[in-house]
Symmetry: C2
Subunit: 498 residues, 2 copies
């Protein structure tokens, strides 16, 4: 033990838990997807905005669903001047700060999009990281729900631009005002009923997962899950529960029919009636723009977790099946969500500044594209590798690489130590190189080069037995030095033909 302690202490090469690195093609894939989405946003008149990672704790506020811990979920720390700062946990809070700070200079309404990492100081789990990407679009400064509808339509366009087929997703839209109206009708109005309203909303939000029985239990006395844990319910009476469940299942064949049913349910609640009217406007607008059911639907079961929503709420759900971690078939589920938050900017200015917007969960959307095999247009491909078999010929190799690059072909010279052919070919394989250029002393003297088609080579490898045979097989050919570009181009063309 003493011996071990004598060794110099080395840091462990690892990340804090809940963080991860992203390599090569995965980065490119995400960037390609984001730039397609950004182009849709931009075409709709949205401008990019980039805020820093760090904000004051005051301006971030605390709007995460975890209501029990005031700073829970946020990475906060003290700045040099003792003031508290924190890493942004979403793109909406910084936008509210920007809308207040620059309100004299920004156009109103202000349409902006933002893409970048956000940080959540939460317990990490499989596929659940403490830093992840979001991609938001918001319109600040307008109270018309046509702006909400526009964002729903734009979200449909963005998902398709990202590579999700039109019949693989649905935009589901609801309105908090309708929800509040129903709760009012159920007798759950007023500050006294805050807690029960919260429990009821969270219960409805779980319909997908728990089914009608589970939600009814949570609206009533409570529910015991498979592990035996008991969740206390909202303790509503049977009539109240019926009213809420009637609401949840108020969806009809089209927006008009659903809104008509909702109008019955909200009864005399002013807020409820206003909410239904807004949904009617949204449905009409989306219909007129070609986003008809089943692409976009009014769906009373949509709740969305955040407390600050004041009007329409919406989400994009992928409807195709995947096999989950437990080997069970289930729908992919939500990849984007948003809604109207008319009171967030007011925190700073004291003046109501209506706003609405959506956030796409970039990692979930990428996972969905991968699940559908649509992640990337062409297979990941490494550079052509020019082997370095004679250390004093590096400029010659580099000149060949340059010639290929000038023709738009990714290329690199092997820069590792040694001149071992096998090791360098192994490196080329690890790089997923489509081809290798081999010039040893023999080739140099005769003005020739060996070109190895590494894709074909791999295909043939299993069929070939002797080394002699390997040398003569068609994946490798000896050519004139001047032909390198033409032959490599031909190999790449052949490889890209299915």
């Amino acid at each position: 033990m003493a011996k071990k302690a004598d060794k110099p202490k080395r840091p462990k090469a690892e990340l804090p838990r809940g963080f991860h690195d992203t390599f090569g093609e995965e980065v490119l894939e995400r960037d390609r997807m984001l730039s397609r989405i950004a182009e849709v946003y931009r075409m709709h008149g949205f401008d990019p905005l980039e805020t820093p990672a760090i904000e004051t704790v005051e301006s971030l506020g605390k709007f995460l669903p975890d209501v029990d811990r005031p700073m829970g979920g946020v990475f906060g720390f003290q700045d040099d001047d003792e003031s508290w700062v924190a890493l942004r946990y979403d793109m909406t809070a910084p936008l509210a700060r920007v809308a207040a700070q620059y309100r004299q200079d920004l156009p109103s309404p202000y349409r902006r999009y933002a893409m970048g990492p956000v940080w959540r100081n939460e317990k990490p789990g499989p596929g659940r990281f403490r830093q992840f990407f979001q991609c938001d679009a918001d319109t600040v400064g307008t109270s018309t729900v046509v702006a909400d509808a526009e964002i729903c339509g734009m979200l449909a366009d963005a998902l398709q631009a990202a590579g999700i087929a039109r019949d693989d997703f649905v935009i589901r839209i609801n309105n908090r005002k309708v929800l509040n109206g129903i709760l009012e009708e159920a007798g759950l109005q007023g500050d006294d009923e805050d807690v029960r309203r919260g429990i009821a909303l969270r219960a409805i939000d779980k319909l997908d997962r728990l089914g009608e029985g589970g939600v009814r239990a949570l609206l009533g006395e409570g529910r015991k899950d498979e592990s035996g844990d008991f969740t206390t319910g909202a303790k509503l009476a049977e009539g109240q529960i019926d009213l809420l469940m009637g609401f949840v299942s108020a969806g009809r064949e089209d927006g008009t029919a659903t809104c008509a049913r909702l109008r019955e349910l909200v009864g005399a609640s002013e807020q409820g009636i206003e909410g239904v009217q807004e949904l009617e406007t949204i449905a009409e607008f989306l219909d007129s723009q070609g986003y008809r059911a089943p692409l976009a639907v009014i769906d009373p079961s949509v709740v969305r977790g955040l407390a600050y929503y004041t009007g329409p709420v919406y989400e994009a759900e992928l409807t195709f099946d995947i096999i989950d971690d437990k080997g069970e078939k289930r729908q992919f589920g939500s990849v984007a969500g948003g809604g109207r938050y008319d009171d967030l900017v007011m925190r700073f200015t004291g003046q109501r500044t209506p706003a609405t917007g959506v956030s796409i969960g970039v990692d979930r959307l990428l996972a969905a594209l991968r699940a559908r095999g649509n992640a990337t247009e062409k297979k990941a491909q490494g550079p052509v590798v020019i082997l370095a078999l004679e250390r004093d010929q590096m400029s010659v190799y580099q000149t060949i690489a340059n010639e290929l690059r000038n023709d738009g072909i990714r290329a690199e010279v092997y820069m590792g130590g040694g001149t071992n052919l096998g090791k360098q070919l192994k490196y080329a394989d690890k790089r997923h190189a489509p081809a290798a250029v081999i010039i040893g002393s023999q080739e140099r003297e005769s003005g020739m080069a060996q070109i190895k088609d590494l894709v074909l080579g791999t295909q043939l490898a299993s069929e070939i037995e002797s080394n002699e045979e390997w040398k003569s097989q068609p994946a490798q050919q000896e050519i004139q030095r001047s032909q390198i570009l033409a032959i490599i181009r031909a190999i790449l063309d052949r490889q890209s033909t299915p």
Copy 2:
């Protein structure tokens, strides 16, 4: 005072000091520049790598130039489990961690590029922020200085791809081994002379700013600056100072001549001789690839601030003049720098893993492009704005916007409150809209639309006096509804013709 205290306390809409927001065209401009640089890197066989913002304090280490404060310059804070974590302050430390952590899986050599924000907990100043962008390219796992030379050449390509003209910059290359050799020759070897070596290096690094006289003073007793502050010097003897100044001014007409002069100066120092040999290899390689002086030069006055460099160091300097904050003409200066750091990965693994790489200061490079008027290909342009003069016609307006978008024209419907024509035109101006589509009740009834060319309109505005005249002027025309796309297209084409 009591009254004031009664008001609800509102958070201030502001960022912590030293942080800033980036809007619209500025974000796009940077992204365009970065994607051009990334394409150069990628063509050379470099793959993207994205590490998270947060690392453990141990794996970040501490390699900033500020040697006096161990954690100075870093945003560090305690994680939930009491362990210390910090925001990355550069891209090199995370790369060293990745190279160690994934050493079994990564190809060797591993070429990677990384772009993203880094954080420095330093005193902010004008143009000096605590979060800024870096764009790095590194080769890990090779000891040949051809890899250093390749990065220098690639840096020259990247700067040109970003928009810097070939005769507006120079890549200056030196070698720490030569520097160490000279210091050895000057009798400054050994741990005892650590402090004086540090002072001497920092003095040489300031040649640009202080001139030969200033550097000589700092190598000797010390130097009093304009403000009267005195900096203690390295207290070298006259002969030592002559030797070092001879080194600094050893630059000759080409690499071969400079290396010959350096060979004389390093005398018998083994390290010095090795360093000169490496510089010769680099100069030869760059010459063979067309990066000849004055594009790339061996320059003995290059030092680079970081302590961890072990071999070649290099930087890109922009050679054109700008007028600085004090109204004085000066060269733009350095926009990128790097070098070889063979010992960084060893911190984790105990095994030497040679590496070399460069970091581009993205904000400085953007500032340079702006100074040269090369920042962006086309002038920033807002979307076409379709005015919303009748609230019940929103779908009609949106349909027109869609028609324009489908033809690749950015377009948006005005979504603010009210139906005031002047207010909406003002909004369109604020959006830098090239044109506005105006359909009031009259136009709606007659199946017409007014198209206003806002660029021409602004040009004409000063020349026009009466309202009547304004209406009849050529910047606005009444057209058939079906002609909107064609007319807008014609206006955009006209505007984009110089």
